[in-house]
């Protein structure tokens, strides 16, 4: 059987499973559409949250970025897990006690203002749409490879599938399908990693393999990897970074952003009790950690395998002949995500870091520049092929990558659609809208969001994980501070919250757009996005933490010089702090 057929069996089979579950659990009422009747067990909820959370960025893209960046990109590992600590302690239990459907619901009520509610809706939509762009990029890469089409065509196919899938079911369908998706994606991620860990280090568990001895050479794996990449002009894999300020701010942005993303927060409305909201965050992190502890092992082992493929006799010997390149390179060349150009005309594939420092050595070896360009986002998907694993493992990882992209895109679209139909239309424009009308508005807004994300996904602002990191920056700067101050301070009033959110949102978006293009439209950036141009060396990816600080400061200052919130609001803050008396999530 051809690899294409195997891929199709895995992808179609897993999709059939999700759609069957979605139909089986089809949402009847609006309440079920949003929160699944408030009766999901913490372990199940944790698993669904993990699937919702771990997107194309985590599954497809992150290990690729770590693989290229080494230690410097540990930020993704710490940032995307550390946020759960903030969620569990600073937000989830109190928002569950508050007991409404959505994030703008809380902000609108706590800051007793439809203005605050509208600003929250705007922040939510901007952050979520940016996030969906990243998902579409990742799903597009996966579809293009496994259906053997161009990456743009893959993107369009992904858009159609995501749309059909998200519109069909609501939250309830999503909760149970997401449990299934978690199982598929975690199996798909860990199985190839276990094989590769056994091949390279004779160690069953990849996270342990990462720090074990490389069997072939007898030195520790990471030391071996450092030696190989150094020989080719790259920075050591484990090298420390100089710009620690940027590394700290980037990690912080990802952490705060995690706790400010509406589609993650909404998950904690679906557990029966406040106590369960705390457990849920813990379980979610356990399930997430299984992938996040495996990812750094995948990253380093894939880098080593890639280098060994190109330089079979070691980095000091000749590279492989282009004519004898392995099949996986040929396959990925079709998608346009691997490119080869024989600069020195010797018929061999030189992959190295063409820097001024390396020029002398390159000249000595007759190299005229790096000849193989490998898109970071393909690394995890190509990983089983690079390691010569059997065809069914390749099919499995296809299904897993798509599960990751699909589940998160669906969760995000749900958050966007509920913000539009529930918070914007029902909450502000037309309070008398029928249930049917509300559901219709929800579905239309999902459609619009997908079209926008697909268009921008054709020319994404970065690799999937980087685009997603921008979404986190926006959520960190706008939503998280408002929620946290709403719970932990009785003094912040509506004016303070609105000014704070706007200041955080506008400053962060402006900083990002300056370097990444206005509204992410290609070719409109004001400055080239290179470290030399960044203010104080802060990258656009890291600015969310600064934006959050601006948000907090503005909100405190404005609140301090204006009136105190009314007494009933202070009582509301008091009440969310104590679990007693929390019912199930309620409509207005």
């Amino acid at each position: 059987m051809s690899q294409f057929a195997i891929n199709m069996i895995f992808v179609v089979g897993s999709f059939a499973l999700y759609i069957a579950i979605a139909i089986w659990a089809r949402a009847g009422s609006t309440k079920e559409f949003y929160v699944a009747g408030g009766g999901v067990h913490p372990v199940m909820n944790g698993m669904a949250t993990a699937a919702d959370w771990m997107s194309a960025a985590s599954f497809i893209s992150m290990a690729g970025l770590i693989s290229v960046g080494g230690y410097a990109n540990s930020t993704y590992l710490m940032g995307w897990t550390g946020g759960y600590v903030l969620l569990a302690m600073l937000l989830a239990p109190y928002l569950r006690k508050f007991g409404k459907f959505t994030v703008p619901d809380f902000i609108g009520d706590r800051f007793y203002s439809s203005g605050a509610r509208l600003v929250a809706v705007a922040c939510l939509i901007i952050a979520s749409v940016t996030y969906v762009i990243g998902q579409m990029t990742g799903a597009g890469v996966a579809f293009s490879r496994f259906l053997e089409v161009s990456s743009d065509m893959g993107l369009i196919i992904a858009a159609v599938v995501v749309f059909m899938y998200a519109v069909l079911g609501g939250m309830k369908g999503i909760t149970y399908t997401q449990v299934a998706q978690y199982v598929v994606l975690i199996v798909a991620y860990t199985i190839p990693a276990v094989f590769i860990s056994l091949q390279l280090t004779d160690t069953l568990l990849p996270p342990i393999g990462l720090f074990s001895e490389h069997t072939q050479s007898g030195v520790p794996l990471l030391q071996k990897l450092d030696e190989v990449v150094r020989e080719l002009g790259f920075v050591d894999y484990t090298a420390d970074v100089d710009n620690k300020l940027n590394m700290v701010l980037f990690t912080l942005s990802l952490m705060i952003g995690t706790a400010g993303l509406p589609h993650v927060i909404i998950r904690f409305f679906t557990v029966p009790k406040v106590a369960d909201a705390r457990w849920s965050a813990g379980w979610a992190l356990v399930f997430i950690a299984i992938l996040y502890l495996t990812a750094p092992a995948v990253a380093s082992m894939a880098r080593l395998n890639l280098m060994t493929t190109i330089y079979p006799a070691g980095p000091t010997a000749d590279a492989i002949q282009y004519a004898e390149r392995p099949d996986w390179i040929k396959n990925w060349e079709k998608t346009g995500l691997i490119k080869f150009e024989d600069l020195n005309g010797d018929g061999r594939v030189q992959l190295y870091n063409h820097t001024p420092q390396f020029a002398e050595k390159a000249a000595e070896r007759g190299w005229k520049g790096n000849e193989l360009t490998v898109n970071n986002d393909i690394l995890v998907l190509a990983n089983p092929e690079i390691a010569n694993l059997p065809g069914w493992v390749v099919g499995l990882i296809a299904a897993g990558g798509l599960a990751a992209a699909l589940s998160t895109a669906a969760g995000l679209l749900l958050a966007i659609s509920s913000a539009v139909s529930h918070d914007l239309i029902k909450g502000s424009i037309n309070p008398n809208i029928s249930e049917k009308g509300e559901l219709r508005a929800a579905r239309i807004s999902m459609g619009v969001a997908i079209v926008v994300a697909t268009y921008l996904g054709m020319n994404p602002p970065g690799f999937a994980a980087q685009t997603v990191a921008l979404a986190f920056g926006i959520a960190a700067a706008s939503i998280f501070p408002a929620l946290m101050m709403g719970i932990f301070s009785k003094r912040i009033n509506s004016k303070g919250a609105i000014c704070g959110m706007l200041a955080g949102l506008i400053s962060t978006c402006t900083y990002i757009f300056l370097y990444q293009g206005w509204f992410f439209i290609p070719g409109t950036a004001s400055f080239e996005n290179i470290p030399a141009n960044w203010f104080f060396g802060i990258s656009p990816l890291s600015f969310g933490a600064v934006g959050a600080l601006i948000n907090f400061t503005v909100a405190f200052v404005v609140s301090a010089v204006t009136e105190k919130p009314p007494v009933h609001i202070q009582d509301l803050v008091e009440s969310v702090r104590f679990p007693r008396g929390a019912g199930t999530a309620v409509d207005h």
């Binding site: 710490m78 990471l222 705390r278 965050a281 502890l293 679990p579 007693r580």
Partner: protein, 87 residues
């Protein structure tokens, strides 16, 4: 009523204390050991690299899990002690 209020305040203070302790640990393992203090830990070797690298790629994540479960367990107990739990 006065007693209730006193009780409520004590509960909230206990919660805040727990959060602060947890977040200090959270900061130390990630921003401390994983990033800023890495050069200081460079002498402690772990599998071909140093302890700071391990904290950045694995240690911090494992610590977060312990922190959340500890917090959930402790708070759910405090809820009962202060009589603010859900029946």
């Amino acid at each position: 009523m006065a007693d209730d209020k006193h009780n409520a305040q004590a509960y909230w203070q206990a919660n805040l204390r727990l959060i602060i302790i947890s977040l200090v640990i959270w900061t130390v393992v990630s921003y401390g050991f994983g990033i800023l203090l890495r050069p200081m830990l460079a002498g402690i070797e772990v599998g071909g690299t140093d302890l700071g690298f391990w904290f950045a790629q694995q240690g911090s994540i494992l610590t977060y899990i312990v922190l959340i479960f500890f917090y959930a367990w402790r708070m759910n107990k405090l809820d009962k002690e202060y009589g603010v739990d859900e029946e």
